[in-house]
Symmetry: C2
Subunit: 336 residues, 2 copies
């Protein structure tokens, strides 16, 4: 399979993307990569350490969307930006997937503009994988759709479940709706209507109902459904809390140790590595034709390589076919 | 000053509330407490270890709102519930404040029913104090108002700032609006309109604009303004992440140690104590006449005592007078 890599996206320029491509090609023998970016920056990197012959090529683009740029403006002003070229390649069927660590809003906007959503999908959503006391869970949407309709959340439940099953290997994923309390009738209009949609759908069997913020890391469910505003705040909050607590652990638990300080420090670093966002490898934008994986802006080569690996896996397991097949089983609804 | 304590509220019955009252009376010489609850349960506890003479009394109530009970139903069916009696005492001017570890929804509903909001306040909001890398910040609303209007959020900015200044001792508190990105124009309608309200208000000077989830624990601002849905999810998510990470630290960092395991364990327990919700002592419901502090349902005596201490402090610094004075400086607005 062929995956387009936005070689210019992210905070660190093309070096980690090229190095990440190299790692991913080593790890996935069935993968070839199209590096989309500025040839004048990419060629010296590729000359220095070439990628495997026949499995990597460069598609030149002259523009880059900056991390702080407004997506809508970027779409208008920079048609040749690397991230939009990746979407064009996918829309034209020249690649099976794309990976970008660039401006998340621009990645989503590029996808929305192609209008190539999967059959039965009203709005794509970004899924992210979080660690829990029992393993892993999928949380979506974490930022593509900040003011969704109930139907969108129902579809996220389907897409998250298919992802949990076929990518995370969870046999019968349970679904929870993020809310301010477990009892039915809690929360605002959106979650109340969404609750009813789930209860009256074929998903009801796996739908455990409302969950609260503390349930995620306890591993209460395998799929957490939420609107893109709440989900985005949650995702970044987790990052901040993790950073804060590990800083406190370093300062107040590790620093005072003497003989065993080195061992404890290594264990802390192991924990950080295990739960760092780079360990899973990006957040898939689910609901679009093709595969799109969005990486954290500060991704290094390992995170890029993991994301390319997940993109390859999504293609391999035919994730989209399975999503469409499940969505076709939902009651019809014209709500956009 | 006199504070009413919902002696029946919380997961652990009246024992921790009575013990918490005792600790708080020791720590606050100007405090007297009205224990509101079932005399048949309270009297044996008070007979066993009496509270200081003349500084504590019992007001008997026959009903209790259960933790999982729907607040609106409880209001209808249980007029003599301890939490509602606390509100009645405050509305009648017999106490200056109230503290409850009971059903949060019922505490808020009881307050809303008295209709005794502060002048210029459209809707009360629950504030919570969170630790940050630089100290502490106030986050509100964390659950009283799950679908607020922009004006409500502006008022939360005022109330949070007054609280940060006079209770946390932060001279000139900065305010951030929780959003999905820092750039202006991010997010849904509510946050976009709220952003404009702040920019065109006297708060503009201290308003740093949009912040993201990861900014809270980095200490980017002193007051975090958000809707009650997002805030409630955030609060409980922090609890879950903290619990999860400390569990992992125990398991992967502390357990493998040998000679220094005891010392490291004590340091971890110190951290847990420092950042546990009980350390600050409850979340004030701001915007009501009188003082109302809501405690975590699982509060033990220390948390109850801290909450009583915060209630006393709020009365002492005349928090409400200062809130009204600041709100009177806002441009008029009829939005409810």
């Amino acid at each position: 399979m062929r995956i387009a890599l936005d070689a210019m996206g992210g905070d660190h320029g093309p070096t980690p993307t090229v190095d990440g491509a190299r790692l991913a090609l080593d790890a996935n023998p069935d993968l070839s990569i199209v590096l989309v970016g500025d040839r004048t920056q990419l060629d010296p990197l590729l000359d220095a350490v070439p990628l495997p012959a026949g499995r990597a090529e460069v598609v030149h683009t002259s523009q880059i969307v900056e991390m702080k740029e407004k997506p809508a403006e970027a779409l208008r002003r920079k048609p040749d930006a690397s991230i939009f070229r990746c979407w064009q390649l996918m829309a034209a069927g020249q690649v099976d997937g794309l990976v970008s660590a660039g401006n998340t809003g621009a990645v989503v906007a590029g996808g929305v503009r192609t209008k190539k959503f999967l059959k039965c999908v009203h709005r794509p959503g970004i899924a992210t994988v979080m660690p829990t006391a029992k393993g892993r869970c999928v949380v979506l949407d974490v930022g593509a759709n900040v003011f969704p309709k109930p139907r969108h959340l129902l579809e996220y439940g389907v897409m998250g479940s298919v992802f949990a099953k076929h990518v995370l290997g969870i046999e019968k994923p349970t679904i929870g709706l993020m809310n301010v309390g477990e009892e039915e009738g809690k929360g605002h209009d959106l979650v109340q209507k969404t609750f009813d949609l789930f209860r009256n759908s074929p998903l009801n069997e796996n739908f455990v109902g409302n969950i609260e913020g503390r349930d995620i890391h306890r591993g209460a469910v395998d799929v957490v459904v939420t609107d893109g505003f709440t989900g985005n705040v949650m995702l970044k909050l987790c990052e901040g809390v993790f950073e804060f607590i590990m800083g406190m652990v370093d300062q107040e638990v590790i620093a005072p140790l003497s003989a065993e300080k080195e061992a404890a420090l290594r264990a802390v670093q192991g924990l950080v590595g295990k739960f760092h966002y780079s360990a899973f490898g990006g957040a898939p934008l689910l609901g679009v034709e093709g595969v799109c994986i969005i990486c954290h802006g500060s991704s290094k080569e390992k995170a890029i390589a993991n994301a390319l690996g997940v993109a390859a896996l999504d293609v391999r397991v035919k994730l989209n076919e399975k999503i469409v097949s499940e969505l076709e089983g939902l009651p019809k609804n014209d709500e956009e």
